[in-house]
């Protein structure tokens, strides 16, 4: 199913004929299992990066027996080059609230939290008002569910779901061992659904438009559309909702400045795709998945500097608890510096690549596991820039 670039308008759509609250009213009349079936049928996968099927996540949590369950909206948005959640929070917060309420209804939760990146606190004033109104509306309708804001501590790793729970519980933001997964033991060790901001909005919209219409977009593996944060060497940076499954070439034709040599897909922890691979790289779970960040680099950029920046970022933002990540990141960073300076031979890059293989399978959380993505894709495609 060959796709081309197509702009869509689901997330930010303001449909005067059908407000989010109307969607909520209608959905709360439906049996929970039916909603889950719709979500599974829609093929919606998490938009926070890991791409777990949302319907299944809700189903697992629904199936857990517990008096207390939670819905958490992950609005930590720390991935460099990603700023779409901020836009969603600012423009269509009701759609998030509604998604959370539907989720609460499905799984049986009475409390929901929006864990918001500390840097977004400036949004809080207007958001709090809207949330208060929404909560009051829920109380009025007799819906036993309330949503609260929690402000993040500013560490990238706190966007990782289990570190986020630790942080919410007032502890150091260190990722936990898995299993148990959040659906079994999340916040306060209770069954928890944690979804990205955008994912929750899509759940609202799928309840609105039905799974069939959502499925019309995207590919078998990557249903629907997604919001992209486009930045870097592009004349038109910004937020765009695009159908999934397009080749990167289409993307660059639209957004490039004519001189793009590489695109970093998925932020610092994503993959770098060089020009020569643009046409056979698909944006989607079958190709290169992305949390939404698309950074364009033109020929004036040093890919050594790009990689160096990323590694510096990970060296600082690793929570530091596990060996492969804490020490591995430092070794990669110092390693490319040493190769650049000539203190280590170019062949040392191979030792480092082997190290990333270990980091990928032995680090405790997604942060350490994905540092190899930018490292290998940049080193493999731009070796000369790294060495000389």
């Amino acid at each position: 199913m060959e796709k081309t670039l197509k702009k869509v308008d689901i997330i930010f759509e303001i449909d005067k004929s059908c407000s989010p609250l109307a969607v909520l009213d209608r959905t709360l009349q439906r049996p929970a299992d039916e909603i889950i079936l719709d979500l599974i049928d829609s093929g919606l996968k998490g938009r926070g990066g890991a791409g777990f099927p949302t319907g299944l996540k809700w189903k697992f949590t629904r199936n857990e027996t517990s008096d207390v369950k939670y819905v958490i909206c992950n609005a930590d948005e720390g991935e460099p080059g990603t700023f779409k959640d901020r836009e969603i929070l600012d423009r269509v917060p009701e759609k998030i609230f509604v998604g959370m309420t539907i989720c609460a209804y499905v799984i049986g939760a009475r409390e929901g939290y929006i864990y918001m990146r500390g840097e977004y606190n400036f949004l809080l004033k207007s958001l709090q008002k809207k949330l208060d109104d929404f909560n009051a509306m829920l109380t009025e309708k007799g819906v036993d569910f309330q949503i609260y804001f929690k402000s993040g501590s500013g560490a990238y790793v706190c966007g990782e779901e289990s570190a986020l729970f630790e942080s919410m519980e007032g502890k150091r933001g260190e990722p936990r061992n898995k299993p148990p997964y959040p659906t079994v033991a999340g916040y306060n060790n209770k069954p928890t659904v944690i979804n990205n901001v955008e994912t929750l909005v899509y759940t609202t919209m799928i309840c609105h438009m039905g799974p069939e219409r959502f499925k019309e977009l995207g590919t078998t593996d990557s249903r629907g559309s997604k919001v992209f944060s486009v930045s870097g060497d592009t004349p038109i940076p910004g937020i765009y909702e695009l159908e999934l499954g397009m080749p990167l070439q289409d993307f660059i034709n639209e957004f490039g400045d004519g001189d793009a040599k590489a695109i970093q897909v998925g932020g610092a922890s994503g993959h770098c795709v060089p020009r020569k691979k643009f046409s056979d790289t698909i944006i989607g779970f079958e190709g290169i998945p992305t949390g939404g960040s698309m950074m364009v680099f033109n020929s004036s950029r040093s890919m050594y500097n790009v990689l160096h920046d990323y590694l510096e970022f990970f060296t600082e933002e690793s929570c530091g608890q596990c060996t492969p990540c804490r020490v591995g990141c430092q070794q990669l960073l110092k390693g490319i510096e040493a190769v650049k300076k000539g203190d280590k031979p170019p062949a040392y890059l191979n030792d480092l690549k082997k190290l990333t293989a270990t980091m990928k399978i032995a680090a405790k959380c997604g942060l350490g596991q994905s540092v190899g993505n930018p490292f290998n894709s940049i080193v493999d495609n731009f070796k000369e820039e790294i060495i000389y």
Binding site: S318, T323, P324, C329, T358, A362
Partner: protein, 597 residues
């Protein structure tokens, strides 16, 4: 409720284990050893070092075996190519940020990192050296504990120990990424924070990042100094653990060999803290009875009950920081170590015609907090520092090795006299509940004229490893002078490990209890699990030491403190009676509040 059995294969060998078992535990059942660093049997699971990773067929990621529960049909490989490469990388990474100058390190030969490194033959460093010069600046502020960040592998065993077992949380993780490390409140030196010097973190630190401050050289110097008369005292719990550092299995009683070794090391007299433990019982038992009388008969409102034991310097410092409003509940008795020192440099020095200033008192202790205690300003009542140097059980083992003594082949010898005679009541000081039991054996008999009503004097309800124990003893048919105690239910409680102590103190503070007497020991299991004992430690090892202590008790001819003939003598010739003026001067003290961080 019996748990489900889960079937799995490890290295192609089938095994069925209970649901919830970790891969690591299951592998151990099949005798497959998987290396670990952050895992410890006393602590919660961290899963951060990652050396224990194994391959689970079908999984993309390796699993940390210490943190991953088994599941039905799982096929695990503990030594596949992937595992070996990853594990070797992880050890190489750890070493790359490690100041591996093993020959200068106190942990050389006892280090878990060193062991794994040598197993994997990590020779030439593949990776760059990341040791930061500033990390090599040790924290030597504490008289008990040395912290060396350049040896730290961030396993957080110390942090979990201090928080989970001790409830102190003096150590914590600060910063993230490459700057992450183990630190104290506001990065203050250890001697300025709530650290109790208990040494439990040392017992669980896999490397040389946390060690006791050692005084081996100072003690050798004293021994070799002809102008000094060096006496050594040995705490109750050392005699059931020393063997562990000298190739003997846990649980062996090595009292006689230890005495013999100490004599060979050149100490002028080998004496026993147990003597002072008996002395403590005389003083503390009498103090308890006096307090009860003042409270029950004289209705003296200033008397604080429950009375709490004061033998454990880690506990005392903990109380000074955290429960300073209850310092008056603390018995005024000094610990046996300090009673010994005070008596040695007065009564004993006189007897053997040695000037106190020429006497050096060395203690062999299961405890690191004793190093701090002996330097306290309150502990100079002989006119000199009552105890000069404290060595841990571990340091003594090192001295024995340095001297080339074949410990196992030593003949058993007896303590010198005087200050060498002791009772079964004294030796059980080394186990949780022991001070309570010893005190009850004596106090009950003082009050009733009869032995405690327990088979073979063994007061079972106060024994065992439960975190907090309670018991009630009915006092009946008392002697006329103790009439006010007739029919009284004496309520006692016992806690070991400061986490349990905190739990019990909170209960007392909330007024939920009606105890008369509480025994608290700072370390899990009591002194036998002390921060100066041989490493490793685990619930099983501590249980074996406890068994040995109670067996030592049963082998003693005298098992009640008040029947120790040397105790009778010291009161007759020197102290007069318990709580006498001289006793107060030498054997009792008071403590002051400290800050809460």
């Amino acid at each position: 409720m019996s748990k489900y059995q889960v079937n799995l294969k490890i290295n192609n060998m089938p095994i069925a284990v209970e649901e919830g078992t970790t891969i690591l535990e299951a592998a151990r059942k099949l005798n497959f050893r998987i290396p670990t660093l952050c895992h410890h049997p006393d602590l919660s699971v961290a899963g951060n070092c990652r050396v224990c990773v194994v391959e689970v067929k079908g999984a993309k990621l390796l699993a940390a075996s210490c943190a991953t529960p088994v599941s039905e049909g799982m096929e695990v490989l503990t030594n596949s190519e992937k595992v070996r490469i990853a594990r070797k990388h992880i050890v190489e990474l750890l070493l790359s940020e490690h100041n591996a100058d093993c020959t200068k390190c106190f942990k050389n030969g006892h280090c878990e990192l060193q062991e794994i490194a040598s197993e994997y033959r990590i020779g030439e460093h593949v990776f760059l050296d990341l040791v930061r010069p500033e990390s090599k600046i040790q924290d030597i502020s504490s008289p008990a504990i040395i912290k060396d960040d350049s040896k730290c592998i961030r396993c957080q065993r110390c942090v979990r120990t201090c928080e989970e077992i001790q409830g102190v949380a003096a150590l914590g993780v600060i910063n993230k990424g490459d700057q992450q490390r183990i630190s104290t409140f506001l990065n203050k030196p250890l001697n300025e924070v709530v650290c109790t010097n208990c040494g439990q973190c040392i017992n669980r630190c896999p490397t040389g990042a946390l060690t006791e401050r050692n005084y081996i050289e100072e003690v050798w110097n004293a021994i070799y100094d002809p102008s000094k008369f060096v006496v050594v005292q040995t705490a109750p719990a050392t005699r059931v653990a020393l063997g562990e550092d000298l190739d003997i299995d846990p649980g062996a009683r090595v009292t006689g060999k230890m005495v013999s070794a100490l004599k060979k090391l050149g100490f002028n007299k080998v004496l026993d803290t147990d003597f002072a433990a008996d002395l403590t019982i005389m003083e503390e038992g009498t103090e308890l009875l006096t307090r009860l009388k003042k409270a029950l008969v004289d209705k003296d409102e200033t008397v604080r009950l429950p009375m709490m034991t004061s033998c454990s310097p880690g506990w005392i410092k903990f109380q000074e920081h955290m429960f300073s409003d209850m310092l008056d509940n603390l018995s005024t008795c000094k610990s046996p170590q300090q009673m010994f020192g005070a008596v040695a440099k007065t009564y004993y020095a006189d007897k053997i015609n040695i000037k106190a200033q020429d006497m050096i008192v060395v203690s062999i202790m299961p405890c690191t907090a004793k190093k701090f205690e002996c330097e306290r300003p309150e502990m100079r009542d002989s006119g000199y520092q009552d105890v000069d140097y404290v060595l841990t059980t571990r340091e003594l083992a090192m001295m024995i090795k340095q001297a080339g003594i074949d410990f196992n082949k030593l003949e058993e010898e007896h303590y010198d006299s005087i200050l060498g005679e002791s009772t079964g009541a004294a030796v059980i000081f080394g186990a949780t509940g022991g001070v309570m039991e010893a005190a009850l054996r004596t106090a009950y008999e003082i009050v009733t004229g009869r032995e405690v009503p327990f088979t073979n004097l063994n007061i079972q309800p106060v024994r065992g490893m439960e975190g907090v124990k309670e018991a009630t003893i009915k006092i009946k048919n008392v002697k006329p002078e103790w009439a006010f105690l007739e029919g009284v239910d004496l309520n006692v409680a016992i806690a070991h490990g400061l986490g349990n102590a905190r739990f019990l103190m909170d209960k007392v503070n909330r007024g939920e209890t009606n105890y008369h007497f509480i025994e608290i020991m700072g370390c899990p299991g009591g002194c036998l699990g002390g921060g100066g004992q041989p490493i490793p430690t685990s619930p099983e090892i501590r249980q074996k030491r406890a068994n040995a202590i109670y067996s030592e008790d049963e082998h003693m001819t005298i098992r009640k403190s008040h029947e120790n003939p040397e105790i009778t003598e010291i009161y007759k010739q020197f102290l007069g009676q318990p709580l006498s003026h001289l006793s107060h001067e030498l054997l009792h003290t008071h403590y002051k509040p400290r800050k809460r961080y």
